[in-house]
C-alpha cells in the first residue's frame, strides 16, 4: 500500500508530473516561439526564455483587482495546474512509476482533468470583472464546444476496439486503420485546444487584449502560463502514448520527444501561415469537418 502511495506521489511531483512536465513544457514552448520567429525572419528568444518568464512572474507583486474574490483569483490557476499535473501522472509514458496503478476508467478521469484548464480560464474570465475577460471567457466556452467533438471522438474511437476505458488497455490495441482515423480527428482539435493562430479566438490580443488573463498578474498569471505549458505536454504525451506505434528497439523517450517536436512544429507552422478566423467560422469548421472526422473515426473503430 505504502509503496503505491510513494509511486503515485513520485509520478505526480517528479516524472511525468510537475517537475518533468514543467521542464518539457519550457522546451516545447521555446521551440514554438523560436520556430515562429525563424518563420517570420527573426532570430527568436534563447532556450531559457520560458523558464525565466515563469520565474520573473513568480517574483512579481500580485495585485488582486478590487471587487474580485481572492480565493477565486488564486484558486482557479492553482486548480488548473493541479488538474493538468495529475493528468500528466495518469498517462502511461515510459518511466512512469505509477504505470502499474492504472485503473478502469482512468481515461475518463484524464479527459475530465484535461478539460479543467479551459474551465478555469472561463471562470477566471467571468470572475475578473473585466469586459475583455468576459468576452474572452464566452469565446473560450463556445470554442470548447467545437473542438471537443473531434477530440472526444478520437479518444473514444480508440477505446472501442480496446473494449475498456483503462489507459494501458487502450495503449495495447494493435496499430490499425482506427489509429489513422483517430489521429486525423485529434490533429483537427489540437490547434484550437492550444489556442494557436487560426483558432486564437479566446486570447486574440488585437481584439480583447489578453482575454481571460487580462486582470491576472504575478503568481496567478505564472500559474496560468504553467498550466498552459503543462497542457501542451499532456496532449503530446497522450498522443504519443495512444496514437503512435512504438517500434521495437527504439527508446520510448525518443519517440515521445520526436512526437512533441512534430506536434509543436505542426501547430506553429499552421499559426504562422494563417490569420485568426471568427468564432462562428471556427464553430462551423468544427461542427462540419470536425464532426465528419469524428464520425469517420468512430465508424472505422466499429467496422474494424
Amino acid at each position: 500500500m505504502s509503496s503505491e502511495v510513494w509511486r503515485a506521489g513520485l509520478a505526480v511531483l517528479l516524472w511525468p508530473g510537475l517537475v518533468g512536465g514543467a521542464l518539457l513544457s519550457w522546451l516545447y514552448l521555446w521551440l514554438g516561439r523560436k520556430l515562429l520567429a525563424r518563420l517570420q525572419g527573426r532570430y527568436g528568444p534563447p532556450f531559457y526564455q520560458p523558464c525565466f518568464d515563469f520565474v520573473k512572474l513568480l517574483g512579481k507583486q500580485t495585485v488582486v483587482p478590487g471587487g474580485v474574490n481572492r480565493l477565486l483569483f488564486y484558486g482557479l490557476p492553482l486548480v488548473a495546474v493541479i488538474s493538468v499535473v495529475v493528468a500528466l501522472a495518469l498517462i502511461p509514458v515510459p518511466g512512469n512509476p505509477a504505470r502499474a496503478l492504472s485503473f478502469t476508467g482512468d481515461l475518463i478521469l484524464l479527459i475530465y482533468l484535461l478539460e479543467m484548464p479551459a474551465l478555469c480560464d472561463v471562470l477566471a474570465g467571468y470572475g475578473s470583472r473585466s469586459l475583455y475577460g468576459q468576452v474572452g471567457a464566452a469565446r473560450e466556452a463556445l470554442l470548447a464546444l467545437g473542438y471537443n467533438l473531434p477530440f472526444l471522438a478520437a479518444v473514444i474511437a480508440l477505446a472501442l476496439p480496446a473494449g475498456s476505458f483503462r489507459l494501458v488497455d487502450v495503449q495495447a490495441v494493435a496499430y490499425g486503420p482506427v489509429h489513422l482515423a483517430a489521429t486525423l480527428a485529434f490533429l483537427l482539435a489540437l490547434p484550437a485546444r492550444l489556442k494557436c493562430n487560426p483558432f486564437s479566438i479566446p486570447n486574440a490580443e488585437q481584439e480583447i487584449v489578453a482575454g481571460t488573463h487580462l486582470e491576472y498578474n504575478g503568481v496567478p498569471l505564472a500559474l496560468f502560463e504553467l498550466a498552459h505549458g503543462l497542457e501542451l505536454v499532456a496532449l503530446v504525451n497522450l498522443f504519443a502514448a495512444l496514437f503512435v506505434p512504438l517500434p521495437a528497439g527504439v527508446p520510448g523517450g525518443l519517440i515521445y520527444l520526436l512526437v512533441g517536436v512534430g506536434l509543436v512544429a505542426l501547430t506553429t507552422g499552421l499559426a504562422a501561415a494563417t490569420a485568426r478566423i471568427k468564432l462562428h467560422q471556427a464553430f462551423r469548421f468544427y461542427w462540419r469537418w470536425g464532426a465528419a472526422a469524428a464520425v469517420l473515426a468512430v465508424v472505422v473503430a466499429a467496422i474494424w
Binding site: G44, P46, F52, V55, K60, Q61, L214, N217
Partner: protein, 146 residues
C-alpha cells in the same frame, strides 16, 4: 543583505524577461512608429526576452511617448499605478522629458516626470530603434537591482 540563490535567479530572470507596455501620452506618433520596428525582423527585441504586452498588469517596463497632455495625465498615472512592482519607466523621445516643441502649449502639461517617476531617458526626436532597445536593456538591468 546576503543574496540567496533564489534572489540571484530572480534578478537574472528579471533582466532576461522584460515585458513592455507602451503608452502614448499625446505623442505625434513619431516615437510610436520607431518603437514598432523594435519588434520587427530587423531589430527583433524578442532575442532579449522583450515582449510587448497589451495589459499594463503583465508588464515590467512602461514606455512613455509624448509630452503629457491634460487629457492623458490621469490615464498615464492610472496605468503606472496598475503595474505590479518592480517596475521601471522609460521616457522615449524628447517630449516626455521636456515637452519639446509642444512646451508652452495650453493643452500640454510638459514633462511626464510631474506624474510618474522616470528612470531612463531615451533622447531624440524621434530616437532610433537601436536607442530605444538600449533604453529597454538599461531598464531591464535596473529591474534586476530592484
Amino acid at each position: 543583505m546576503p543574496m540567496t540563490l533564489w534572489d540571484r535567479l530572480l534578478a537574472l530572470a528579471r533582466r532576461k524577461s522584460p515585458w513592455v507596455y507602451v503608452v502614448n501620452a499625446g505623442s505625434c506618433n513619431g516615437c510610436d512608429i520607431e518603437i514598432a520596428p523594435c519588434f520587427s525582423p530587423r531589430y527583433d527585441a524578442e532575442q532579449l526576452g522583450v515582449l510587448r504586452q497589451g495589459s499594463p498588469k503583465h508588464a515590467d517596463i512602461l514606455l512613455i511617448t509624448g509630452p503629457l497632455t491634460l487629457r492623458s495625465r490621469a490615464a498615464v498615472s492610472a496605468i503606472y499605478e496598475q503595474m505590479p512592482s518592480p517596475k521601471v519607466v522609460v521616457a522615449v523621445g524628447s517630449c516626455p522629458a521636456t515637452g519639446n516643441v509642444f512646451a508652452g502649449s495650453p493643452t500640454v502639461v510638459g514633462g511626464v516626470a510631474s506624474v510618474v517617476p522616470i528612470d531612463i531617458y531615451v533622447p531624440g526626436c524621434p530616437p532610433r530603434p537601436q536607442a530605444i532597445l538600449e533604453g529597454i536593456a538599461q531598464a531591464a538591468a535596473l529591474l534586476a537591482r530592484r
